[in-house]
Amino acid sequence: MSFEELRDFIVDAFGAEVVVAEKTDNLQSYLVLQTERLSEVCLALHDHELTYFDFLSCVTGIDNGPEAGTMEVAYNLYSIPYDHHLMLKVQVPRNNTQDQPIPQVPTVSHIWRTADWHEREVFDMVGIYFKDHPDMRRILCAADWEGHPLRRDYELQEYYHGIKVPFDQHNELNGFKGEPQQLVGQPTPFSDKREKPE
């Protein structure tokens, strides 16, 4: 099925309001779905004989930054028997209120069991909580690590179990007299700044 047919399939089954937005002028077209109805749409896509998306390739959490105020989760589905792809997305506000400190997205780990670990990784790296997930723990970082490293406003903790975490002062502390190295934000060799200095 093509992307348009898949979109029509979802709209026919769940109504037009379930598709919040769609983007087709992309390298891969995608649909943005209503966050609350994500899991029922996914269940239908997985089970229906015409779509049969049996393989969840990738789950990606994206933080758009405090200015945009949103976070996204992208799901890359693939159907092995029909050989068709679909990228789905949900967009949630980046709320940091007292009663809901991190954004929430319904889980799809009961549909594709592979989402179990992928969602744990998204939770660990970006800080999106997956509702009804059976085992929402950190997976890559240590359990008592502070913050979610792939957030735009992430700041390293000063000490972790008595070990100094930020590495910026390493050269000065160790008596290195050369030029301080700064990795972040350095102009890359092919950027304009390097070729045409102001």
Partner: protein
Amino acid sequence: MSSTLYKNYLLQSEPNKFSLDNLKDGEMIVNMGPQHPSTHGVLRLEVVTDGEIVTDVAPHIGYLHRCFEKHAEHMAYNQTIPYVDRMDYLAAMNSEHVWCMGVEKLLGITDQIPKRVEYIRVLVAELNRIASHFVAIGTYGIDIGAFTPFLWMLRDREHIQRLLEWVSGARMLYNYIWVGGLYYDLPIGFEKRCQEFIDYLQPKLDEIDTVLLENKIFIDRTANVGILPMDVAINYGCSGPMLRGSGLKYDLRRVDGYSVYPELEFEVPTGTGLVGSVGDCWDRNYVRALECRESVKIIQQCLDRLQGDHKRTPDFDPQAGCPKKLRTTGTQELYFRAETPRGELGYFFRTTDRSDMPFRCKGRSPCFSNLSVLHEIAKGCMVADLIAIVGSVDIVLGELDR
């Protein structure tokens, strides 16, 4: 256990999933790893055992987490290639190939890659695939007590490493495949030496079958152990030899047909349950051994074409197609996937307007999904079989933790 031990930092940073209170009568928690040779790196397994029977297992990963995704957000696409090498350090050429194809698709220059470059890429990637499978099968032999095949396979892998060192200057982490081209053309005389190696390798592959795969002890240890049904494998996102071992003919080189793979002839081997059941540990290793033979076929065809239609010419510059500016236009999203020795390696790119760095880059590691099925297939097996199962998954912790 005394309360002071519970307060130590290790239990704070990686607490157990299972608690002592919920154990049934006769059960105990056994910790395996993270420092243990049979876990192929720093993998910690928390095993609930009832005597010799494993009743549950929870893998703890992340000990080799090196922030690949964070680094990739602060680097231009071409600067990330060495980082990609270090993800799957046993098959660095394959990882580079996937990354470069993904970035070329972002930049829209997929069609402009010269055929000779494509054939050299496939040639080195398949050489690396053989090397990676040799480590997988060899260390698997060690896991369950066969030492000789490991030494034999590392001996043959050494030839591949020397060939690739001749090509790129490095033995394991190459940075050879560049976005839009290659670092260098093949060195003069490489085709001949590679041909000699292929002729040398084929009898050695038969040797592996004889000494390891058809060995009675090996079959007894691996047949009917860790059976992974096909539907479970798909649901858990397994790919590569894990999925093919379960009987599904699914290889992205054929399914997606990227690079020059549609022009090459090779079979996709699957597990058939020759000595046990479909999808057991023996099948997974048998698929790897058969894939080595298919890779030899591919290398042979690449060599023929590199000496025939796409012959070396004095004015051929493999760096000519490398774009000087890796600027992408507009906000684009792309998930690009391809087949590495361990399965489907994918990269999710999110670009921002006029930048040579990705806004977000996610690496979808095949080992990550392959290992997540462990608790499903290890339930009810013996503790010794757990080692056999973990080995047959063929994990590389560098890629699993990124």
